[in-house]
Amino acid sequence: MSRKFLETESPTWVEKGIITAEQQERLLGLYPPDEKAIGLLPLLGSLLVGLSALSLVAANWQGLPETLRLGILLSSLAGSYAAGEHFLRRGNYSLGIGLVGLGLILFGSAIILVSQMYQLIGYDVTGLVAWAVAATGLTYLYRSRALFLMTVVISCIVQGYNTGQLGAFSYATAAFTALSLGYYWWRNPDSLIGTVLSVGLLWQAGLLVSFLHIKITWFFVGAMLIYTLGDWQTDRPAGRSMQGPPIAAAFLFMLGLAIFGEAGSYTDMLRPPLLAYLAALGAVFALSLVAKRKRGRLGGATDWLLLLPGFYLPGGLPLAIAALIVLYAYTGTLLWRAHQEQNPDRVTLGTVLFILTTAVAYFKLTWGFMDKSLFFLLGGILLLGLSWYLQRRAAQTLASESTDKPAR
């Protein structure tokens, strides 16, 4: 409870005789006013001094002798790590980690600035990989979520630069990121870092697919491998957070196929050799099923309905319809499971996705055949009816959930 809330509400409580004025005083005494705002002033002051020093150096950077430039880079690097360590020891956690993060950013910029200073050309990503490795080391040393996030972003930048500028893919960087950060997430299960790591790994998988010039649907073999990691995680929230991004990617892809699949112009980018693709995806599916069985969550296997390879149907209407069937299979089972589990968040999510799918299906299947105003009228009625029905189901579920609770 915040002091502000107490200050505004407690006079009414005294008035209504719920608490006495003395009790009000004692309650307020429990929440002393925040002293933090005063501590901000010196911080802002030193920030301004730091900025002025930075602009002075930046303005004269080219004019400074090389050794001096090197010295400035090295000492500011060491300085910010030392300051970070100092504040951590004094118990000021966020400021300390912030300064360690600054040191990490300085390390990356120093690598770039020094190679620029000597006109050195980067032929491989060794320099930037060193940055990612240092970031991982710091994450383990300080056990900090903020540093974990920075490490994921840095390894994404390194791989993006590698494929974009150097025309290569660093398998070592990808494996190092997946193993070191994956192990960290495995031992320190957490929802936020799970989601971030999942997105970072999806990015690496996407870059690999574009680098190898293979069919884009191979991406989902990698994505579902990431999803399967979430199945093996014993901590449920951390596992689900790892699975969110791959499922979202698969859903959006199918939705895109349903909307634009008819064009058919890019359908040749979709179809890898059938047997190889199904074998690879099937192997991942088996791994996922084993894990789901082990953790007693076999119901979650319906997520895999999104991966039904409807894109092997010929382009045009059949492809769009196949994509819609896949979407309906997924959202339908999602809703059904949500009602069974009586999970209100899931019910909302399932409802939204189901209505979205219906809107796309209706638009897709009737636009060509119907008079436009009739189209809008019927579409509106269909969606209104559907949302009314789903809302009712949701309300029923929640009502039965509250009556199910043991009466006290």
């Binding site: 080219q62 006109q119 320099g127 710091l138 494929t163 500028q165 025309g167």
Partner: protein, 177 residues
């Protein structure tokens, strides 16, 4: 999240920070080593429009070896954008010119030839546009204004050191009258 830090935490922090500082020093050392052990190759730039010349603190350069006829391509597969390539150079007058382009580094070369690494930027019907990452020349103190003053269209000779291990850097530039 105030988890207690491990016992020998301070030693590990020191080690990690020292490693980072050493790495930066190693990058600087690589710069000096490339000049010390590298073979110097002179490249000729194409005329540069002085209005485009100075971008903040660097000069944008376009070399004669940036645009190569497709006939120099030695591979059976078609060149693809963003592929890394090895360009073989040979002295021709005051500057070096390209003679062949490979996907893999060629092992046997005549003594007067040398390999420079690059990337395919674009592929046209009759030519390849190659990027060497030598296109940005970071101007040392005060030189930018001097380059700018030369005005009109002019050609530059750029000396590049290529180390035996493949690393390259610009060591000197000279504006032709």
């Amino acid at each position: 999240m105030a988890t207690p830090l491990p016992q020998n935490h301070r030693r590990w922090v020191l080690l990690l920070v020292a490693a980072q500082m050493l790495f930066i020093l190693a990058v600087a050392a690589a710069g000096y080593a490339t000049t010390a052990y590298g073979r110097v190759v002179t490249l000729r730039t194409l005329p540069v429009d002085p209005r485009d010349l100075l971008y903040g603190d660097y000069v944008r350069l376009n070399y004669t070896i940036s645009q190569l006829p497709i006939a120099l391509w030695q591979e059976t597969t078609l060149p693809r954008r963003r592929q890394a390539v090895y360009v073989v150079l040979r002295p021709a007058g005051e500057a070096y010119e390209a003679v062949r382009v490979y996907l893999q580094e060629p092992t046997e070369l005549p003594p007067d030839q040398i390999v420079l690494r690059g990337w395919i930027e674009d592929r046209y019907r009759r030519s390849l546009h190659i990027r060497y990452n030598l296109e940005r020349y970071y101007v040392p103190e005060g030189k930018g204004k001097e380059l700018e003053r030369k005005g009109r269209q002019h050609i530059m000779l750029v000396r590049v050191s290529i180390a035996p291990w493949g690393q390259a850097r610009i060591t000197e530039t000279q504006v032709l009258p």
